[in-house]
């Protein structure tokens, strides 16, 4: 039995401890906002938080989250009020959208640690999240915009 919190809700699961966290999130918990991209920690589409830190859930055994707090894109805010989500909408960031939940989860850690990031901070933080549509310029603008929103009062 492995027990952990997902987006504030406690779950206890009978599951093989080596099962990738991504499978548990999507198939057992039905939280399909987190995407499967490469399965090898190369693309970032599967990024979630464990105790607030970004991880690639596709290569993370579920045993690692026993007793911990997992946040997925569904838990970033209950109503799209997170400044990042608002900025993403205002900058019209996604094209196909497949990578965007991972992009947002990485950006969330960046802004927690660096509330006013420079372009270089953004590049360093987002380097592991690939976007085949090439939305990088809009991602950068949206992160700056979210940082400004958060500085002015955060979630609405």
């Amino acid at each position: 039995m492995i027990g952990f919190s997902v987006n504030g809700k406690r779950v206890d699961l009978e599951v093989d401890p080596s099962t990738p966290l991504l499978w548990v999130i999507r198939e057992q918990l039905g939280l399909t906002g987190t995407k499967y991209g490469c399965g090898m920690a190369q693309c970032g589409a599967c990024t979630v938080h464990i105790n607030g830190e970004a991880v690639r859930s596709c290569v993370t055994p579920v045993s690692r989250v026993d007793g911990k707090f997992v946040t997925t894109i569904e838990g970033l805010s209950p109503d799209l009020s997170n400044p990042l989500q608002r900025a993403w909408l205002e900058e019209d960031v996604p094209q196909c959208g497949y990578c965007q939940s991972g992009q947002l989860m990485s950006a969330a850690v960046l802004l927690r640690e660096k509330p006013a990031p420079t372009d270089e901070d953004i590049d360093e933080a987002m380097t592991g999240n690939i976007c085949r549509c090439g939305t990088y310029p809009r991602i950068r603008r949206a992160i700056h915009r979210a940082a400004e929103m958060a500085a002015k009062g955060g979630a609405r």
Partner: protein
């Protein structure tokens, strides 16, 4: 912001780390071993130095604020950085991808407890050092995060992150001397007063 070529990461062997210096508590260091006029001409040190020179060690003891990978010690793909404490930056920390154990297939991130680089404050760069300089460097508490010789030997022979060098996972070359033999050589060097080759 990034290069698509970073996708090639999967094709490259993930070299890394035998730098578990941070995973040890930084105990009060004993006195620094005085530079030794080696009666053995440094042979006891050079007997095990091929392990320290191997990419499994050097990939995290090289110049630059980033780790390296593979037996060719190329720069870690995805522009991974050392970060302020040696554990990466913001949303790209070592633990973002690396677990505390190797994953069970080729081209997946290798892992061991405490996966990290030396911190920028004590970067422990061995690249470009002679054997004598390397020997003095690893003995110097100012360059080894406060270890005395006993703690250094324990680190070299028992630390879990260092031990990964003998079990680096599929597709990665292990360090070149069997662990038992390496440990015996390190302890013989210790017993002789940890003599260093001439610089």
């Amino acid at each position: 912001m990034k290069r698509l070529s970073s996708v090639l990461w999967s094709l490259l062997v993930c070299g890394a780390v035998s730098t578990a210096w941070l995973s040890h508590p930084v105990a009060a260091a004993g006195p620094t071993a005085a530079p030794t006029a080696s009666s053995d001409n440094g042979a006891l040190f050079t007997a095990f130095v091929p392990v320290l020179r191997h990419p499994r060690c050097m990939n995290c003891h090289s110049k630059g604020g980033y780790p390296r990978q593979g037996d060719d010690s190329h720069r870690h793909t995805m522009d991974i950085r050392r970060g302020p404490a040696g554990f990466g930056v913001t949303s790209v920390k070592c633990s973002t991808c690396h677990q505390d154990h190797n994953l069970g297939a080729a081209h997946l991130p290798p892992g061991a407890p405490g996966w990290h680089l030396p911190p920028p404050s004590v970067p422990m760069i061995w690249e470009g050092l002679t054997d004598g300089q390397l020997c003095e460097s690893i003995k110097n508490p100012k360059q080894n995060r406060g270890r005395n010789i006993d703690q250094l030997v324990e680190h070299l022979t028992e630390d879990k992150l260092v031990m990964w060098g003998w079990n680096p996972g599929e597709g990665r070359t292990p360090v070149p001397i069997p662990h038992d033999e390496f440990s015996a050589k390190v302890k013989a060097w210790q017993a002789a007063g940890a003599p260093c080759p001439a610089r």
